[in-house]
Symmetry: C2
Subunit: 183 residues, 2 copies
């Protein structure tokens, strides 16, 4: 039940924003009494926090990429990205975070903290040298751009590009950022 | 006066969102009678449309990049991007569009139309071959990611990276997307 409430909250925050989301409407969406939503989440802030928690499954996928041999890590990163966005639960959670972070300072600060404390170190895991966090942030910049263009804004031709073509086009960029010569 | 109203609206839509923006608050911000704001903009929708109009100056900068000889276009693109974000008027307008598009379907549709009808063709200008729009969209994916990481979310180390280093790191990616071998 908590999962269904969180899923409905993700959709609502992403599409209707903070102001357009009410705990009453979420309760109606999942067909429960509003008191039950309040039982699990004391406030709309708590519900937002739960809805914009990066999925643990996704961080695990990123971490698995680091165990791929160095020369195949660019391709593995793009394939894992595509796999993640094909999972409805991960896609909805990440979309909701990106869309909510744009206009909710609280979510934006959380996204910054997540990127800095969890995502960049996970990408940089087993990358050599003192530029490892810079390499991870360049990788993130390409990943974020593909996510926005292909999945969030759905801009053609990237939105409908076959998955293997996306890998072939973007993996060399990620590979250079992760292990290649910089600058 | 109209310019000052639009500038205040940009800031408010970007930071407070659609629901948190009122024409009355904009009038107070620029210290005019609300009736004057209503004189120029019949509705909040009209004000949003004006506030999220991509700056003409910025499209001109993109177009100028296309006249740079092919082998220097990656570097020119990144330098022009940095130049643009150093102009307060352009930066505020683009930030406002990105932040508002995340939660306002009307602005998101406008952003999609702008990318598809204006920005991608401007990037693809004087690029050879039938993959020119694909090349432009890959370029846009890297540009959008840098914009989000460095300027919108301000994630380190990208946020404070010296401009010349950003050029040296990202220009080769853009150069490959624009003129290199794909896939």
């Amino acid at each position: 039940m908590v999962e269904r409430i969180i899923a409905a909250a993700r959709t609502s925050f992403a599409h209707n924003g903070w102001a357009g989301t009410t705990m009453r409407a979420i309760a109606r969406e999942v067909d429960v009494d509003p008191a039950l939503v309040h039982y699990y989440f004391a406030s709309k802030e708590d519900l937002l926090d739960a809805a914009t928690m990066p999925p643990a499954e996704w961080l695990e996928v990123i971490s698995r990429t680091s165990s791929v041999p160095a020369r195949g890590r660019g391709e593995a990163m793009v394939r894992n990205l595509i796999w993640s966005w094909n999972q409805p639960a991960i896609r909805d959670a990440l979309s909701s975070i990106l869309m909510t972070a744009a206009h909710e300072p609280r979510t934006r600060e959380k996204l910054k903290a997540f990127l800095t404390a969890s995502l960049l170190p996970a990408i940089a895991d087993r990358i050599e040298g003192e530029e490892r966090i810079l390499r991870a942030s360049l990788t993130a910049s390409q990943v974020v751009g593909v996510v926005m263009m292909r999945w969030v804004w759905e801009i053609e031709p990237l939105a409908s590009l076959p998955e293997d073509e996306l890998v072939a086009l973007v993996a060399p960029t990620i590979q250079r950022y992760l292990t290649g010569r910089l600058g």
